[in-house]
């Protein structure tokens, strides 16, 4: 049996990759994808715990997380489209009117 810690390690690595992606990519859309990676890391964690603790609740939580992820993507894409209309760009560093 695979130790739980492997799963936790996997999800942590995934989370970190997503985190790095959020921090380094210029493209807004890719950053959004990276956030999805982070959320998936959470899901992996939950499912693994669910398995190892024999509790179904964790799977429900994953269900909610997926829902929220979908909602976020919908809103996020809406905002990005709106922003793209105004600026004609999806590079994050172009969005810096508000600062200091």
């Amino acid at each position: 049996m695979v130790p739980l810690s492997w799963y936790v390690g996997l999800s942590s690595a995934l989370f970190l990759i997503g985190l790095i992606g959020v921090l380094v990519r210029r493209n807004t859309l890719v950053v959004l994808l990276c956030i999805e990676i982070m959320l998936n890391a959470v899901n992996v964690n939950f499912v693994a715990f669910s398995k190892y603790q024999h509790v179904i609740d964790a799977q429900i939580l994953v269900f909610f997380v997926i829902t929220v992820a979908a909602a976020e993507v919908a809103i996020g894409l809406g905002i990005i489209i709106s922003l793209f209309r105004l600026k004609g760009s999806v590079n994050i560093d172009d969005f810096n009117i508000l600062k200091l």
Binding site: L4, V8, S11, F15, G18, V22, T28, V31, L32, I35, M38, L39, A41, V42, N45, F46, A48, F49, Q53, V55, D57, A58, I60, L61, F64, V65, V68, A71, E72, I75, G76, G78, I79, I80, S82, L83, L86, K87, F95, N96, I97, L98, K99, L100
Partner: protein, 481 residues
């Protein structure tokens, strides 16, 4: 698994609001443009209706849905604040939306939905409900911040808020997953038992605590998770800023408090340090950077960061003093901050919002009452008696000293003194200089009612807070007897 109707009844206020929100969505498509103000009245009415419904549930400490949702006086108190904040926001919105050309009926629906989200937050009995509440609220705000669609700043603010919000939500969820993994439950009270006796899983719990803390700190905009605050506050339509800076923050405080005090109180020594760091950093950043701001909304944003620092000092010790301090603080904070934003959103400069600090110059000459109201808010925010802000600060320091963190109180004091400067600067500009720009103060009758309410309460809470103190005392009685 038993399921009783009580569960439904207990959540009736939320259901009402959701229902009314949907009604507004439908009404919006039906009523003509000129009658749009009726939507505002309808919103206020529905909020008051829900408020009365919530009040009816007061005093019943009910865990609903098998402990996933808690109706107790504590959450009710926060709900009341949120209702009031929402009502005042709607009072301010009516003229503002017209002027800013935001003719979107969904706005009022979003106000109601976000209110539901906050209510869910403060009543949440488990972390996932809590998370959903946060998301509900946040999604509404993401949209509301970007409502000034023609404005680069507004949409940019919306984007920034969204992306960082999603980022922090992911971190928060990751934290929940660790907590869940360590304890096997996600209910707030369930976690507490494991935190008290973590065994070898302690590192995971610690990680969970830190990660959830980040999520909360983001919502209350405590440094170093505050970075979105100034940008978003500045870019957002001012009514939304006012609502965000008060209601969402207060709801976040309520739930922050509940999670940390109930779930993690056994591990207090560990997270106390984090809170201390958070509050010091927040006070530092908030009070210092506000000194250099030229945009009043930005300045108020930094001020709200500073206030988050003060308020979070009251989170250190789960006892009656701290609880009271926090509750009183957010109560006063709501009125004074909302009022300050109210003044800002009523200032117009040649068709735009007068949100530069220089627009306030000489306000006293033109609009003495507006200036005086602003003076009240500013002194109250600075924590000068006899305004409510003083007692709020007082109780926080009271709690901090009671918790044994006198040195932290000293730090807080130093920053309070520094912070007083930028509030004073506003007063100074309003009163001691001659007007330069052609700013007009454009208050509708509803706006005036809103200002009267906020200013009046700010003064009243400083001079004779007794009825509210009694109310707060009764609210915290169940939480900490």
């Amino acid at each position: 698994m038993s399921f009783s109707l009580v569960n439904i009844l207990g959540t009736m206020p939320e259901i009402y609001l959701t229902f009314f929100g949907c009604v507004i969505l439908i009404l919006d498509t039906m009523i003509p443009n000129e009658k749009r103000s009726w939507l505002a009245y309808f919103t206020i009415a529905s909020l008051i209706f829900a408020m009365i419904a919530s009040y009816g549930l007061n005093g019943k400490g009910l865990p609903l849905y098998q402990g996933l949702y808690i109706i107790d006086p504590f959450s009710n108190f926060f709900k009341m604040i949120i209702y009031i904040a929402a009502i005042i926001t709607v009072l301010f919105s009516l003229p503002y939306l017209d002027r800013e050309d935001i003719h979107i009926g969904e706005y009022y629906a979003f106000i109601l939905f976000s209110t539901v989200g906050m209510m869910v937050m403060v009543s949440a009995g488990d972390l996932i409900t809590l998370f959903l509440g946060i998301e509900l609220m946040s999604l509404c705000f993401y949209v509301m911040v970007g409502l000034k669609k023609g404005s680069h700043r507004s949409v940019e603010a919306s984007f920034k808020y969204f992306l960082l919000g999603a980022f922090s939500a992911a971190i928060f969820l990751f934290g929940i997953s660790f907590l869940y993994g360590a304890t096997g439950t996600e209910t707030i009270s369930g976690i507490a038992a494991f935190v008290a006796n973590p065994g070898s899983l302690k590192p995971m719990i610690l990680l969970g605590i830190v990660l959830t803390l980040v999520g909360f700190a983001f919502k209350i905009s405590a440094a170093p998770f505050h970075m979105w605050t100034p940008d978003v506050y500045e870019g957002a339509p001012t009514v939304v800023t006012g609502f965000m800076s008060t209601a969402s923050k207060i709801a976040a405080f309520g739930v922050f408090l509940r999670v940390f005090w109930v779930s993690f109180s056994a591990d207090k020594v560990d997270w106390n340090l984090l809170i201390v760091i958070l509050s010091i950093l927040s006070m530092l950043v908030g009070n210092l950077v506000a000194l250099r701001q030229t945009n009043i909304k930005r300045m108020l944003a930094y001020s709200s960061i500073g206030h988050a620092g003060y308020a979070s000092m009251a989170l250190l010790q789960p006892n009656r003093e701290s609880l009271f301090a926090l509750m009183f603080y957010v109560f006063v904070y709501m009125f004074m901050t909302l009022g300050a934003f109210g003044i800002v959103l009523m200032l117009r400069k040649s068709g735009e919002e007068g949100e530069d600090i220089s627009d306030l110059v000489g306000l006293h000459k033109r609009h003495p009452i507006a200036a005086f109201t602003m003076l009240v808010f500013m002194f109250s925010l600075a924590g000068i008696p006899p305004f409510g802000g003083f007692l709020a600060k007082f109780y926080v320091f009271f709690a901090v000293i009671h918790a044994g963190y006198a040195w932290l109180a000293v730090v807080g004091i130093v920053f309070a003194a520094i912070g007083a400067f930028y509030y004073l600067r506003i007063v100074m500009l309003m009163y001691m200089k001659d007007p330069e720009s052609s700013v007009v103060f454009n208050a509708s009758s509803m706006g005036r009612i809103g200002l009267l309410l906020t200013a009046g309460m700010t003064v009243f809470l400083g001079v004779y807070p007794t009825p509210f103190v009694e109310y707060i005392k009764s609210s915290l009685a169940i939480f900490i007897p």
